[in-house]
Structures are given as C-alpha cells and as structure tokens.
Amino acid sequence: MLYALCFLLFMIGLYSAVVKKNMVKIVIGIMIMEYAVNLFLIMLGYRLGGKAPIVGEEDIAGAGGQVSDLFLNTSVDPLPQALVLTTIVICLGSLALMISICIRVHEKYGTFDITEIRRLKG
C-alpha cells in the first residue's frame, strides 16, 4: 500500500510534467517524480524495527571488524541508501541545468509559457 502511494506521487509528477504549460511547473513535476523514486528505493530496504546501517561500538562482536548477529538481523539495507545518495546528486545537477535553460529561455522569449515558445515547427 505504501508502495502504491509512492507510485501515485510519481504519477502526479508525470501529470505535471506532461500537461502543464508553465516551464517552472514542468520542472517541479520532474522534481516530484525524483522524490517519488528516491522514497520508493529507500522503502524497499526498510526493515520493521530496523537499525541504521552504521556499525556502533556495541555491534562489534570480535576482532577484525566482525559484527554481531543482532546487527546482522536488524540493520536495514545499505545498498538502496547508497543508490539514493547518487540519484539525489544527479537530480540536483539536472535541476541546475534545467533552471539555467529556463532562465535563458525566459530572457530570450520573455515568458515561461511553452505554448508561446514555438519557433520550431512540428
């Protein structure tokens, strides 16, 4: 059910990106889609009553960095977290580039309305 709500968020973003005619609204739609994917990835790795994937003092069971069974069985999945860290930065980068293009288009055409930005024919 939570997953489906996440997918709904993705669809709201897609709706905004495809249907709206204000360029900033399109960018906002893309941002919402990104949030949805990030949330979905993290949720996939969550374990009920889990622990953050950081080995504390009390989790070390033996020499050479062996961790205790308790930690092994309660830690949440670290892999999606690493992936989301990557996607967050990618999204920030594409946001910066997209906003640069928006500002430049606004300077050239004087509007954010994409139905008026139509020099290229179909």
Binding site: I30, L79, L83, L97, C102, R104, Y109
Partner: protein, 517 residues
C-alpha cells in the same frame, strides 16, 4: 591483460576534467586543449580497434560480483566501442575548425569528452545502476551541447529534449528500483539468473515496459520521437553527427537490446512490440522527412527512419528466437542470427554515413550561412569535395549496390522473407524508395541547379573539415568489406552471438568473473 578496460572511461574523463584548466591559459591554452582532445579521441579509436575480438570481464576495485561493479567487454560492446571511436574521432577533427564560430571552446571540448566517456561507460557496464549513471552523464552533456549556440531555437530545442530525456531517465530509474525490489541484486548477470529461476512476474514485466518506454525515449522510436527533429538540427554540426551517429544508438538501441535479450530474455510478445515500434519509426520518419526544406531537419527525420531499420533487424531476430523458445533448431537460429546481423550491420553503417551527412551539412551551413534548401543551389562547382562526400553518403544511405547500405538492407529483406513477414519486406523497399526521394531532393536543391546571387563568392572548406569528411567517406565505401567472412567472424559475428545467446549471458559472465580474477 594488455590494457585494462576502465581506461575506456578514464581517458576521456581525465581529458574532460583537464580542459577548463588547460583552456584557461589564453589562446595557446585553447590550442593545447584542442590538440589534447584530438589525441584522446584518436587514442580511444586505437584502443577500440585493439579490443576487437577480445572478451573480458573486469572487476572494479577487485571486488567479486555481485559485491562490486563489473565491466564486460564482449562482441556487442566492442562493436559499439568501434562505432563511438570512429564517429567521435571524425567529429572532433571536424570541430577544430567548425567550432571557431562559437565562444567557450574549452567547455565544448570538455562536454564532448564527457559525452564520449558516458557512452563508453554505458557500453561497458555490467551493472544496471551503473548503466543508468553513465546514461545520465551522456545525456546531460548532450542537453547542454544542443543548446550550445544560445539562440532562441537552440534553447527551446534543448529544453524540450531535456524534459523528455529526463522523464525517460526517471522511467528507467523506476524500472531499476522495481527490478531491485524483485530480485535483490543490481548486477545484470545475477538479475538474469534470478529471473530465470523465478520467472517473469507482474512487477518484472511492468519494469520491462518502463525500460522499453525509457530507452525508447532515448532512441526516439516513433511515439516518443518528438524531441529529435528539434534537438539534432539545433546542435553544432559535429554534435549533430555524434547525436545521430552514435548517441541514440548507444543509449537507446544498445541499452534496450542488452536488457531485453540478455537480462529479461526475449519472448514473442516483446519481439512483436519491437517490430511494430521499428516499422512505425521507419514509415513515419521517412514520410515526414520528404516534406522538409531545412537540410539538417530532413536528415534528423531520416535518422528516425534509419534507427527503425536497426530495431527491425533486432526485433525480427527476437521474434524468431521468441517463437522457437529455448530449444531452437539450428535452421531457425541461423535465420535469427541473419536478422540480427542485418540490424547490427545497419547500425554501424548508419553511424558512419549519417555522421558524414551531418558533417557535410555543417560544411554547407558554414560557407552559405543557411540551412534552408530553397536558398541554396549550384554548389557543386564551388564545393566539389563536400559534394563528392555527400554523394557517397547519400548513395550509401539509399542503398545503391556497391555501398554498405545496400548490403544491410538486402540482409534485412532476406531475413524478413525467411520469417514469413512478406509485408515487412515490402515496407523496407518502400521506405528505401522514400529515402531515395529525399536524398535526390538534397542533391537537386543544394548541389545542382542555379547558383544564387549571394553565394557567388563561397569557397570550399579546407584542412581539418575536409580531412574528417574524406576519412568518413573512405570508410563508407569500404564498409561493405565487413561482410567478407574473415572480417565478419572478427567484428560482426561475436556481436550477433551475444544477442542470440540470450540469457546464457548470465552463466557466461559469472563463470568468467570467477575464473578471471
């Protein structure tokens, strides 16, 4: 191992990082940056030629899979590396002179190298998330390069391209998340093994649909093609050559066929889907192209139609493989291989002649200052070399016998007849006719006819630009030699075997990774 695989990514990356520093030292620095970038692309071309015929699995950071990321070099990857190497070396050389009409050349070189690095990364990656990261590098660099001129149309095309491209990337990312949620791994070989064990459930088939839409957007297959006719003409000519020549094939066709064939395993439904998408791209692209009067826009629509040919070959092969199932007899396997061979051969042909066509259009645009075909004419006397190379490329794309395009189209026709799809063969011939009409139009209106008053003083380009065009034209005429058995065994057959092998990919990679290190 003589040469480690990461160098394919590391060389262009380091060159790209160096560009803003080197280019900061005034005029001499810019010259040095240009020389450095050209050396890097030529170096990559040499490496790509050296890697033909090798298979290799490289483990990043010496971590065994699935812990770490692996790079895979097989027949298909080395074919793509070869195409990227050839086109990027020629486009870079062409750009030395052409890009002097723009400012910020050091940044252009940097973005160009980043795009090459991204494409090489996509081609080599054996990890699905890593593939996504490098796909983003290549696409972000191309968004910026499309808007490089900072004029009205260019920015508009760039925005359109960026929105659709980002939506495509997010679809791919959501598909990756679903795949991870269903299989618990990101390594393509392990995903493939898990899918074979559990079968394709609802989540995985939805993920496959997301991948087809996402990569279809990158490849500009017909329902998703809206950005391409704007983006490709707006970019500077060397970048148009890169985008049409290799980018849409690497990010779209290569990634899609890798995932459909090697990770999920081909089925008849997916095969039909690919054939239908390919046919609609071919027909609609060709019909729209005939009506264009903008030289580069015509070529962009023709790209849509030609990518359709590539997908058609791969799709027919997939259809035959999917119909026969896992225990396929040798005759059907041979026909499937032939279809895929046609598709891949057309892929590499198209990357050569379409980039050549875009370079000639850049040469024409630079001397005449316009892309409008109605304002040109009679350039044959003024620009003999451009005319000659353009004619060679047109002959190849139309499919006039000694040139390469003829052979790949012939193979596609034979394969579709063998698959009992006679109407597909008819469509291939009809689309070829449309292609003939559009390139006759180019010849008629650009190079023949009356020379307008204002173009009396134009001169042929010399130096780097002509060298790049002649290099590609020579390749274009010689490309048919790839079908000679000994060369075919080296270049094309291994690539075909990768796709016909299907999900056998997983066991092969896991074995190689275990033994190799």
């Amino acid at each position: 191992m003589s040469m480690p695989l990461p160098l394919f990514v590391a060389i262009p990356l380091v060159t790209a990082f160096l560009m803003p520093i080197v280019g900061g030292f005034g005029r001499k620095g810019k010259g040095a940056a240009t020389v450095l970038a050209n050396a890097a692309t030529i170096c990559l071309l040499v490496f790509a030629v050296a890697s033909v015929g090798r298979t290799d699995v490289y483990l990043m950071g010496k971590w065994s899979i699935p812990l770490g990321i692996n790079l895979v070099l097989d027949g298909l990857s080395s074919l793509m590396l070869l195409a990227i190497g050839v086109v990027s070396a020629a486009a870079m050389l062409f750009g030395v002179r052409y890009m002097q009409q723009y400012t910020a050349r050091a940044k252009y070189l940097s973005l160009f190298m980043l795009m090459v690095a991204g494409m090489n990364g996509v081609v080599l990656s054996g990890d699905i998330f890593n593939l996504f990261v490098f796909l983003e590098i290549a696409s972000l660099a191309s968004y910026a390069l499309v808007g490089f001129g900072c004029e009205h149309e260019e920015l508009e095309a760039s925005f359109k391209y960026m929105v659709l491209g980002t939506i495509g990337s997010l679809f791919v990312l959501f598909g990756i998340a679903l795949v991870y949620g269903n299989t618990g791994t990101l390594n393509m070989a392990y995903i493939s093994r898990a899918i074979q064990q559990s079968g394709v459930n609802a989540g995985l088939s939805f993920a496959l649909a997301l991948f087809i839409v996402g990569f279809g957007l990158k490849a500009a297959m017909v329902p998703f093609h809206a950005w391409l006719p704007d983006a490709h003409p707006s970019a500077p000519a060397p970048i148009s050559a890169m985008l049409s020549g290799v980018l849409i094939k690497t990010l779209g066709v290569y990634a899609l066929s890798r995932i459909v064939f090697n990770v999920f395993g081909i089925s008849e439904t997916v095969g039909w889907l690919l054939v239908v998408l390919a046919l609609s791209s071919m027909v609609i692209g060709a019909l729209l192209a005939i009506g264009q009067w903008d030289l580069k826009r015509l070529m962009a629509y023709s790209s849509i139609s030609q990518v359709g040919y590539v997908m058609l070959g791969i799709g027919i092969g997939g259809l035959i493989l999917g119909r026969a199932g896992p225990d396929i007899d040798s005759e059907h396997l041979a026909w499937a291989s032939l279809a895929i061979l046609g598709g891949l051969f057309h892929l590499i042909n198209h990357s050569v002649y379409k980039s050549l066509l875009f370079l000639t259009s850049g040469s024409v645009q630079m001397t005449t200052g316009t892309r409008e075909m109605r304002e040109m004419g009679g350039l044959a006397q003024k620009m003999p070399l451009t005319r000659a190379t353009c004619t060679v490329a047109s002959a190849a794309i139309v499919g006039i016998p000694p040139f390469s395009g003829f052979w790949s189209k012939l193979i596609l026709v034979i394969a579709s007849v063998q698959a009992h799809l006679y109407w597909v063969a008819a469509i291939i011939l009809l689309v070829s006719l449309c292609t003939l009409i559009m390139y006759l139009k180019v010849q008629r209106h650009v190079f023949l006819g009356e020379l307008p008053e204002n173009l009396q003083n134009v001169k042929e380009n010399t130096g780097c630009m002509v060298t790049a065009m002649v290099f590609l034209a020579c390749l274009c005429t010689l490309m048919g030699l790839l079908l000679v058995p000994s060369l075919r065994e080296m270049v094309l057959t291994p690539a075909v075997e990768v796709l016909t092998n299907g999900v056998g990919y997983s066991t092969q990679i896991i074995e190689q990774a275990g033994i190799g290190n």
